[in-house]
Subunit: 225 residues, 2 copies
DNA sequence: AATGGGTGTGAAATAAGTGTGAAAAATTTT
DNA sequence: AAAATTTTTCACACTTATTTCACACCCATT
C-alpha cells in the first residue's frame, strides 16, 4: 500500500488523520512543521503528502514551493472551512488537490486515491467484497447486485463497505456515525436509519443482508455462523 | 482481556464501576485521587483510564494533562448529568471520550470497546460461552441451542450472558437488575422473573440450566461439582 | 396439614425502538 | 442563479420489548 506524510502543526489533527488513514490501510509518517516535513520526505519517500495550509512559521504554501524545487510528489492541501485562501495559487505552485476541514475519512481516502491514480502510483490490486449476488469494488466504488450496477451516494457506500467488511459484527448508530461521518458530526442518530433505508431499497433482494439488531444497531448478516 | 484504571474520589462510585467492569470481563485497578492514579498507572499499565472530572484537589482535567505529558493511554472522562463542563477542553487536552452519570453498564462497556478499538488495543477474538448444546457468541449476540439459532431480546441476552459467564454463582434479583438494567432502574424486582420465564422458554431443553434458588435468586447450573 | 411468603405464568398495559414517506436543509452540478 | 442531488430532520405508524398485575402454585417452617 501507499505511504503518506501528514504535515500539520496540531498534534490532534495529525493523530486524527493518522488514525483515519491507518484504518484505510495506508502507512503514515507525520511532521509538525515545514523543516520536519522536508526531513521526513527525504527519509520516508511518501507517495503523497497531506499538507495543512495554516501553520505558524512556514505555511503550507511556502513548504509546497520549497518541496517543488526538488520533488514532484503529489501534495493535497488541508484547509479549514471558511478560511480565506488562494485556491489559484495553491494549484499554480504545484498543489494537486485540497480537502476542507472538517472532512470524513471516506472523503479523504477518495481524494487520495484520485490523486494517486492520476499519478499512476496506485497499486491496482482491486479489493472486492462479495456476498451472494452482491459485489462491491472498494476502489472504484462500484456496486453490483445480480450483475446490475447500483448507484450509491458516498455515505451509503461507506456505510455498506463498513458493514459488509465486518460481517456479523454489530455496529451501534454511534459507531457508524463516528467511522463513516467522522468525529465532528453533530446531528441525530436517526440519520443512520434513513441511509440504511435507502441502502436496503437500492440493494433490492440483497437489502435483507443488512439486519437490524433491536435496541443496539445494525449488522451485515454473517453467512457462516 | 483488557485492564482498566478507575479514578474517582467517591468510594461508592469506584465500587460500582469496578463491579460493572469485572462483570464485563475486565480486570480493574482503582484510585481515589490524582496522585494515587498516576502511581497505579505506572504499576498496573492499564489499557484505558476512566477518570472522574469533578474531584477535590486535582480535578480530572489536571490529572489528564499531567498523564498526557508522558503517556498516551486512552482516557474516558466521567461527568455528572447537568454538571457544567468544557467538552472542547476535554478533547483538546487529550481525552478520548466521556460518559455521563448515571450510566448503564452496557453503555460503559460499549464506549470502552469503541475507544479500545480505535486505539487498536482490543483483541477481536470471538468470545463464546458454551454449555452442553447451548452456545453464546457474546459479540455478535447470537445464541444457539442444539444448533438452532434462538432470537433473544436485549435484556434476555444480557441476563443470560451474566448468568452463564459465572456458572454456579447465585445472583439476587437486585444484583441482576443493577448489573443488566443499571442503577437508574426503578421498577419492581418481579420483572426479572418474567425475563427468566421467557429465557427458559426460548432456551428449550437448556432452559433448565437456569435454576431458581429459593428465597435468594437465580443461578446458571455449574456443570462441574 | 396449615401457614405465609416466594415463585411461575399468562395476559394486559406501557414503553421503547424502528420503518417510512415527505419536507427541509445543505451541497454539488449545471 | 437555478437545478439537481445528497443529506438531514421530522412526525406518524407500526413493531417489538419491557413492565405490571393477578392468581395459582410451591416451598420451608411450624
Amino acid at each position: 500500500m501507499s505511504h503518506l506524510l501528514i504535515v500539520d502543526d496540531e498534534q490532534d489533527m495529525v493523530d486524527l488523520v493518522t488514525m483515519y488513514m491507518e484504518n484505510a490501510g495506508y502507512t503514515v509518517s507525520s511532521a509538525l512543521n515545514g523543516d520536519e516535513a522536508e526531513e521526513k520526505l527525504k527519509e520516508s519517500h511518501p507517495d503523497l503528502i497531506i499538507l495543512d495550509l495554516m501553520m505558524p512559521g512556514r505555511d503550507g504554501f511556502a513548504i509546497c514551493e520549497s518541496i517543488r524545487s526538488y520533488s514532484d510528489v503529489p501534495i493535497i492541501f488541508l484547509t479549514a472551512r471558511g478560511e480565506e485562501w488562494d485556491k489559484v495559487r495553491a494549484f499554480s505552485i504545484g498543489g494537486d488537490d485540497y480537502i476542507v476541514k472538517p472532512f470524513s475519512p471516506g472523503e479523504m481516502t477518495a481524494r487520495i486515491q484520485a490523486v494517486l491514480r492520476r499519478f499512476g502510483r496506485v497499486d491496482e490490486k482491486r479489493e472486492t467484497i462479495r456476498y451472494q449476488t452482491l459485489s462491491i469494488d472498494v476502489h472504484s466504488r462500484a456496486v453490483r447486485v445480480d450483475g446490475a450496477a447500483i448507484q450509491l451516494t458516498m455515505k451509503e457506500f461507506d456505510l455498506l463497505v463498513l458493514l459488509a467488511k465486518k460481517r456479523g459484527r454489530i455496529f451501534s448508530r454511534e459507531e457508524l456515525l463516528e467511522t463513516v461521518w467522522g468525529t465532528e458530526y453533530s446531528g441525530g442518530t436517526r440519520t443512520v436509519d434513513t441511509h440504511i433505508k435507502t441502502l436496503r431499497m437500492k440493494l433490492k433482494n440483497e437489502g435483507a443482508s443488512i439486519e437490524t439488531v433491536w435496541g443496539i444497531g445494525y449488522k451485515f448478516v454473517d453467512g457462516a455462523v
